[in-house]
């Protein structure tokens, strides 16, 4: 069994058997998506914002980064044969464990659930919130996942500030 570990800001998409995608979550959220017919699965790991005193991320910013993170995963899966209408989801993470980060974990988890509802993607399993970190193992081909609560404190790196998007990208054609 090959293991692929992902960290915050990454995603992995798998079509081969005998691969497990793993990640460690604190306040971040991981969405595990799979298409049971095409046997394509993938996982992302995202944090929607870092509400520090001098770089507060607005609700609007959080939403658009979350939507973007989900779109990258879904588009990547569709390129490998998945169909949006067949996708099912497992959602993990969103713990409130970093002192000073308030309820950022809850906001992340609420976003993920709202997103799946809006897109009509069934959430087959979810384990979010609380104060423990989580270790996630996902078998994309089978659509099976396992969540283990981690006793230690936050496994995440300190939250990475959300970078502001480029206004126009690198290409100056217009």
């Amino acid at each position: 069994m090959r293991r692929m570990a992902i960290v915050q800001g990454e995603n992995a998409i798998v079509v081969e058997p005998d691969v497990v995608i793993t990640t460690l979550l604190g306040s971040c959220v991981a969405a595990c998506l799979y298409d049971p017919v095409a046997k394509v699965g993938g996982m992302n790991h995202f944090l929607l914002g870092e509400p520090s005193a001098d770089h507060r991320v607005s609700a609007g910013d959080m939403q658009r980064y979350g939507i973007h993170a989900m779109e990258l995963l879904i588009n990547g899966m569709m390129k490998k044969g998945a169909m949006r209408t067949r996708l099912r989801a497992h959602i993990y993470g969103g713990a409130n464990i970093v002192s000073g980060l308030g309820s950022i974990g809850s906001s992340n988890a609420a976003f993920a659930h709202r997103f799946m509802q809006t897109e009509g993607i069934e959430v087959a399993h979810s384990d979010v919130g609380g104060t423990s970190a989580r270790k996630i193992e996902f078998l994309p081909q089978e659509g099976r996942s396992r969540c283990t609560k981690v006793a230690d404190r936050v496994p995440d790196r300190p939250p990475v500030p959300v970078a502001l998007p480029p206004v126009g990208g690198d290409l100056e054609l217009f």
Partner: protein, 129 residues
Amino acid sequence: MPAAAAIKVMVVDDQTSMRAMIRRALQDLGFKDVRDKSGASEALSAIKTDRVHLVISDFNMPEMDGLQFLEAVRNDPVIGKTVFIMLTGSADKEIVQKAAALGVNNYVVKPFSPAALKEKIERVFGELT
């Protein structure tokens, strides 16, 4: 009345959340007539029947992608001059160049802020508010 209120817009993206977010951003900018479709072929039929001034379309869509959609619009004798703004992922430089060759009016890199979208629209239409 702000200029935006007179501009009819068609938003095309296969992701419902993205369409909803763009609609909200456009409404905040003063746009009143915003329609949306989840696919390019549907959008193409809709704007042929009921013309719009501005199309904002994702590139990455199943079946007809944003470039094919742009090409179909530009090749149409009636709606060929409709303003077309493409939404792309950050790594899609080649796509932006292809879109420019096909006559796209501008492009916006995801994830974008409402201010970035406003700026790109204003480069084509002038001040919106």
